[in-house]
């Protein structure tokens, strides 16, 4: 005997990380801090995004982007990193794919590098400390 009725949840909203067809947006996180990578990953996966890959410097980020292309919708790119910095990596990714959606992750005080990044083709930027609202706002602004 059925004792419980399932009502449709009319308040349920579609997570931000899903496309119209229900498939997740795929994100590459490029950051040398394990903490920041985890923080961005947690915020995005909780909204349905898929973390397609992570890289801990700009060079690795460029290689990962080429490897994932075209199945990558967005990149979050730290500015200060060893081996290859985020601005150089951005420049090389944009050379490879001029439509790349790249968001720069900046510490305070790097306004000059943020401006340079925007001129080089970054779509947006976020100044640390990161929080859920700030990250999702900028990500959705970039993907729309």
């Amino acid at each position: 005997m059925k004792t419980k009725m399932d009502f449709p949840n009319i308040n349920q909203r579609k997570p931000e990380g899903l496309r119209e067809d229900g498939k997740p947006f795929r994100v590459l996180i490029v950051d040398d801090s394990m903490f920041v990578t985890k923080q961005i990953g947690q915020i995005l996966t909780s909204e349905g995004f898929e973390i397609a890959g992570t890289a801990s410097n700009g060079e690795e980020g460029l290689e990962k982007y080429k490897e994932l292309y075209p199945k990558v919708d967005l990149v979050t790119m730290d500015i200060t990193m060893p081996v290859m910095d985020g601005v150089t990596s951005l420049e090389k990714i944009v050379e490879f794919d001029k439509n790349a959606n790249i968001i720069m992750i900046s510490a305070l005080g790097k306004q000059d590098l943020v401006k340079k990044s925007l001129l080089l083709g970054a779509k947006n930027y976020i100044v640390k400390p990161l929080d859920r609202k700030k990250v999702l706002e900028r990500v959705m602004m970039t993907l729309k």
Partner: protein
Amino acid sequence: MRVEYINPFVEAAFNILTEVLKTEVKRGELYLKSSSMPVLGITAIVGLAGDVEGRVLFDMAENTALEVASAMNGEKIEKNDELTKATITELANMITAQAVTKLHEIGFQFDLTPPAIFTGNNMEVTDVAIEALIVPIQTTFGKIEINVAIREKK
């Protein structure tokens, strides 16, 4: 040491800690130390070089570091592992970046080293040629000391 060097660090520490820990943060009385002093257990150090030179330490007991890392990661962290160190490094990065922006705005130009983390018991720090100012910051997770030793380059 001129107090104008330390105020940006105190303000930045207060702002960032309040924002990332989402808890009450109180500034203690600033004090001066010119000889060796013990460090608390987990310490992030950032070097400065340019118009001014020296270093800043962010010093806390291991338990405090674990509580801070837990709050910043949104999960209980029980040992001082790579994630704890990465989290404390990021905290030092954020505070230093905000402080340095203020110092640059008032005309001091200098570069920073990436933070390094020291861990251990019975450690002490000695600044032979620079006096250090210490600002204890009290949080619900324990005390964090901001220890600044900066001088103008001759």
